[in-house]
Subunit: 347 residues, 2 copies
């Protein structure tokens, strides 16, 4: 039995877009969602890749995702934009926010775009990189419902709220505030592999390495990760007047809410006057960091996003490995929608 199938990126993207179209999404929303998922797979982050297709389709079918949504700016004041996601599929709302940020930052040299009410954003590094590609320093954050312990709590109290930071030409940091990502739990459940110790608690608040018993993630660095996650909720949901955490803690029925709120910040590096030396300074930083004496057990020192860049290149060439169980779940959805699966790469 094959542990995984290998699919080329372009057919996989077209396949995913077809599924989303058949599920009811508008063309552009189906395309960008497929693009964002396959981007994560290409970079070697399967937890945010096509493994999410069945979940997203389920949300469309249950009405949690509004296929009529047209995310757009509903308020603009100076460098600040508020985008209403209208319960859209995450990538459709996030792209609207990222692009609004690019437009605003061109005009005001910086932008601060809040976007409310969208489903799972996917890998938010995608939007940070998209903004950075236009010559801006970019910071993206996203807030979700409780799924991680806060420092000192027994169960889930905050989320794994991620933060991504990108510079034009790289590097790209994309990290959750958890000791590990919730998506990794999903991958572990799919592959059956045990979790690393210290990243999850069971139903009773005790540490566990069994992916099937894991219920609550732990914050990175204890109070720091918990605090950063809580402040991301404040900078997004609370600033928008759309809190996610407090209502979900007060009303357990809201714990399965899929809504997110996000923030996209951009700063035009050319406004500061150092854009002519930016690429050189980033290259010098990369070279200096990578040249440092290595600790025992390290073959190399990597910049944020470097492994993802390398994987992106390799997988763009060779194809994307999808675990057999994941592929089976995706093709089951596709079959239901009458979408034919792409060919596997012969190995």
């Amino acid at each position: 039995m094959t542990a995984s199938v290998l699919i080329k990126a372009e057919p996989l993207r077209a396949f995913a877009a077809d599924i989303f179209r058949k599920a009811g999404l508008a063309d552009d929303q189906a395309e960008i969602t497929a693009e964002v998922l396959v981007w994560a797979d290409l970079r070697g982050h399967p937890s945010h890749g096509v493994i999410r297709i069945p979940l997203y389709c389920g949300w469309v079918e249950s009405g949690l995702i509004n296929v009529e949504a047209m995310p757009k700016a509903v308020m603009v004041k100076g460098a600040v934009v508020k985008v209403d996601g209208e319960s859209a599929i995450g990538p459709a709302a996030m792209i609207a926010a990222a692009d609004a940020g690019i437009v605003r930052a061109r005009e005001h040299a910086a932008a601060w775009v809040l976007v409310q009410n969208h489903s799972h954003a996917g890998a938010i590094g995608y939007y940070a990189q998209r903004v950075a590609a236009q010559g801006f320093a970019a910071v993206v954050m996203s807030a979700l419902r409780p799924m991680m312990a806060y420092h000192g709590t027994r169960g889930a109290a905050v989320s794994t709220n991620p933060i991504a930071i990108a510079m034009p030409g790289g590097p790209l940091l994309d990290m959750s505030t958890a000791a590990s990502s919730r998506g990794k739990l999903g991958v572990a459940k799919a592959t059956g592999r045990p979790l690393p110790p210290g990243i999850a608690l069971d139903r009773d608040g005790r540490p566990t390495t069994d992916p099937h018993a894991a219920v609550t993630l732990t914050p990175m660095a204890g109070p720091k990760g918990a605090g950063l996650s809580l402040m991301i909720e404040c900078l997004t949901s609370v600033a928008l007047g759309r809190p996610l955490i407090a209502p979900a803690l007060d009303h357990p029925a809201l714990r399965d809410d899929v809504r997110q709120n996000s923030l996209v910040m951009a700063m035009d590096v050319s406004a500061i006057g150092a854009s002519d030396v930016l690429a050189g300074n980033l290259a010098a930083l990369t070279r200096a960091i990578k040249a440092q004496p290595r600790a025992d057990g390290f073959d190399e020192i990597r910049m944020p996003g470097e492994r993802g860049d390398r994987e992106y290149e390799r997988r763009s060439r060779d194809g994307i490995p999808v675990p057999a169980k994941t592929w089976q779940q995706i093709t089951a959805v596709a079959t239901r929608f009458g979408v034919a699966a792409p060919d596997e790469v012969n190995r």
Copy 2:
């Protein structure tokens, strides 16, 4: 022998300001520096408190701090401001940046203020709270010379670059990207207490708990803290065309450089339309988090900054405990400048 002396906040602030004035700083710069240091002591963060007086005075005397500096905006474009610190003492430059951020954010609803070339900023939570007090969501970051391992390096490759986030009325997160702060090393050296395990490496890159052998701090959560620190260097120093890390790694003589670059971001919460419900939503979040079932060993669950708020209140009333050894070092500097030490509180 008394382990510490107890000094009231106001006399301590006046004492510190007098020392800085006698050291050569202008009145306003002496005052704000004393204010920022005593604020940290009041909040129970002695590592960023008056313990730094001898260090700062040494930098003034050696010329690393320019007492003639008048930090000011040298470039304004839309919501972006560049402040040149002119090698000023940190708090003088940071206050200029925070206040420029407040002015810009009033006009453009958001602001992104970069400030270059200042000495140690002190506790950057001070500036985040100052900006937040004007009704803005605030994010402050600061970049320093290498003093922390990057993920996989044997020695110092990045800094403990801190980030602070504040909302109007609280909470206030102020954290370094290290597993622990460099200031805590200083306190441990002063008190002679061993370090917690896992926060520092010795000269050979091996873990140590001996504060006198500790040379390099470790990043929080391994690659996450290291990556976040590196991106703060990018968002500040590299964006400004004033890199700190790469030159210091290439030229060991620059490793003692005291210059920092910082970023102050502000967003006018009223621009988003939710400021009328902001206080209520923050209170609901605080209540919900603190009401969660506690893990074994926790007496209470605290919001970011809550312990500091409580300590601030208590120490404002009762006085600030200063370790005897620290007090001896400060009064030695004061004596040299002919400044009389304030009375101790009788205990």
